[in-house]
């Protein structure tokens, strides 16, 4: 059998080459499966809840902690807006994301992701609440005052910043909430919705209570300017979801690291930065109420609010 190129050793036969090819294939296969088990990094998506710079800083600390525990670099990346999770998962191959409750229902239904852990806040609750608020001098005190008033929502993919205010209006007999209120717009983040109301760029706003409380802690004078008109029931807080394609041992490693964070001083410091006491296990069932809420609010996730 003639071997080409002729520069190779004349004793090499096709069998030798076949064997070498097989070895090479096995090596590649091994390294590929190694890559599946041990990615070069774990990429976690973060939703823009408030000031993205502060948020990134806090989550970088969490990522650093998880890196130390799993031995694989964990990198947070901010998704430019709520609801972008589906697109980002596909484009950036995210391994997981900290998702707010309504986005989470999308991740569950469309991406088959699994909720693993959610933070317990400083009040001891693993819950998030939505608020409807206005300026104290706006003259708006009750539902009937909201007619024709401008409204700053956060994003169509937020429960606290969109579903809740729509549901509130519906539960109070307003069949078509968006027609009842005046001009409305989406601010993109919870603190921007608060600023919009403070500035008088909107008469009413809705946002997460945790973000509202954080703004108030930073600037206590805000308490003199704003008044809360309504508060939602408890909703799941931002929860860590992991991709089902992530290696099981890594999923376990990340989950364990989160659940055991409060047991060591380094973990407690990171928890303090994100305003949590500890993490607790999350369950898919937590999101049934969010789906129900969306249905009652007349919001179709794919088609937007029902008019």
């Amino acid at each position: 059998m003639t071997i080409w190129p002729p520069l190779l050793h004349p004793n090499l036969t096709g069998r030798h080459i076949l064997a070498a090819g097989l070895i090479l294939f096995l090596l590649l296969l091994t390294s590929r499966s190694e890559a599946l088990v041990k990615p070069r990094e774990i990429l976690l998506g973060i939703e823009p809840e408030h000031n993205i710079f502060t948020q990134m800083e806090n989550y970088r600390k969490l990522a650093g902690y998880l890196t130390g525990k799993t031995g694989i670099p964990v990198r947070p990346t901010v998704m430019s807006r709520y609801g972008e999770v589906l697109q980002r998962f596909k484009e950036l191959h995210l391994d997981g994301a900290l998702l707010s409750s309504y986005t989470a229902t999308m991740a569950l239904d469309a991406l088959g992701m699994t909720p693993v852990a959610r933070p317990v806040n400083l009040a001891g609750e693993a819950a998030s609440y939505g608020l409807i608020f206005t300026r104290k001098d706006s003259g708006i005190r009750q539902l009937r005052d909201m007619r024709g008033k401008s409204f700053a929502f956060v994003d169509p993919a937020t429960a606290e910043g969109y579903l809740f205010p729509l549901l509130y209006l519906r539960q109070n007999g307003i069949r078509n909430p968006l027609a009842y209120i005046g001009r409305n717009f989406f601010t993109g983040s919870h603190d921007s919705a608060i600023s919009a109301v403070l500035d008088g760029r909107a008469d009413l706003g809705a946002a997460k209570e945790a973000v509202y409380a954080r703004q108030l802690a930073k600037d206590p004078a805000l308490a003199k300017e704003l008044v809360i008109l309504a508060r939602s029931g408890p909703l799941p807080p931002a929860t860590l979801f992991l991709s089902n394609s992530l290696a099981p041992e890594l999923r376990l490693g990340l989950t364990t690291a989160l659940l055991e964070m409060a047991a060591n001083p380094e973990g407690r410091e990171v928890l303090r930065n994100i305003g949590a006491l500890h993490f607790t296990r999350a369950d898919k069932k937590d999101y049934d109420q969010v789906r129900k809420m969306a249905a009652e609010a007349g919001v179709n996730r794919d088609q937007g609010p029902a008019q």
Binding site: I52, S138, T187, G188, L198, D199, G200, R201, A221, E225
Partner: protein
Amino acid sequence: MTDIRRYLPIPLLVLLAWLWLPSPAPAKTIIGVIMPSTTPYAEEVQRVFKETLKAEGQNADMEVVVLHPFPDSIALGNSTRKLVAIGAELLVTYGTNATIAALNEQTKLPLIYSGVYDPENAPFARLDLTGCGYKVPLTSLIRYLRQLKPINTVSAIYCSLENDTVRQVNELTEITREQRIALIPINIKADDELDFTQMNKGDAVIITGGSIVNLRLPEILAMAQTHQQPSITILPDANEAGVTISLYSNPKEQSRKTAQMAAQVLAGREIREIKPETLRNNELVFNLRAAKSIGVKIPFQLVAEAGRVIK
């Protein structure tokens, strides 16, 4: 009898003449408007006022007479008397000073105010008046400045002749005191040599919303540029002039509402039956070009909140 027959044609002729001659044109309804000469965007505001009146069906037999006095009490009072003399049936006054001056003349004409800052706290708030004013939360001005740079001292440009700006600077005094910021009020008048020596001490400049302040805007901004100070104002659309941030109530919207109220009065409604309005829907504009020129970077998350950005 003969005498009667002789004089009979006279009343008949008079009657015929009365029937034949065209009836005199009905007197036009005059709306008297007092808009101080330094009112920002006066032409635009007037155009919207007239267009809205027309849209409200107040078209024929109506004349809008606009006077542009200097905003001091004497000139404003004189304007009120002139409008009364030409037979105005309704007065519309722009700003608190013009409104007070018209009230001081004690005319019995119905009066509607417009462009008044925080009318619920204006000197005439307890009177049975109506009109459309505006309110911009001045706390937001401080909040935005603090997001640009540390603020320990801030200067506030106002005009002691104008009640609207005096009330704004009083409010700012209260806010800055609570936030432990030193406030330097700088009083300017129309023809004065501007004394900006105090301005160099501030970390930023707040430009209150008054017509005389607006008149001196180019000089104020030139000084802010010299001292590399960011500026913020509640004057509308001042960003084109080089103000770093504007948070303002749309003056055209105020004018539109005022015209709607005027139309109601002309249609026979009593002033006390028309609910006064305070517009609180404000617009936020950032001037990135102006910020860059003084070495200030407006954070990305702030820019995202603006309704308009000048690059």
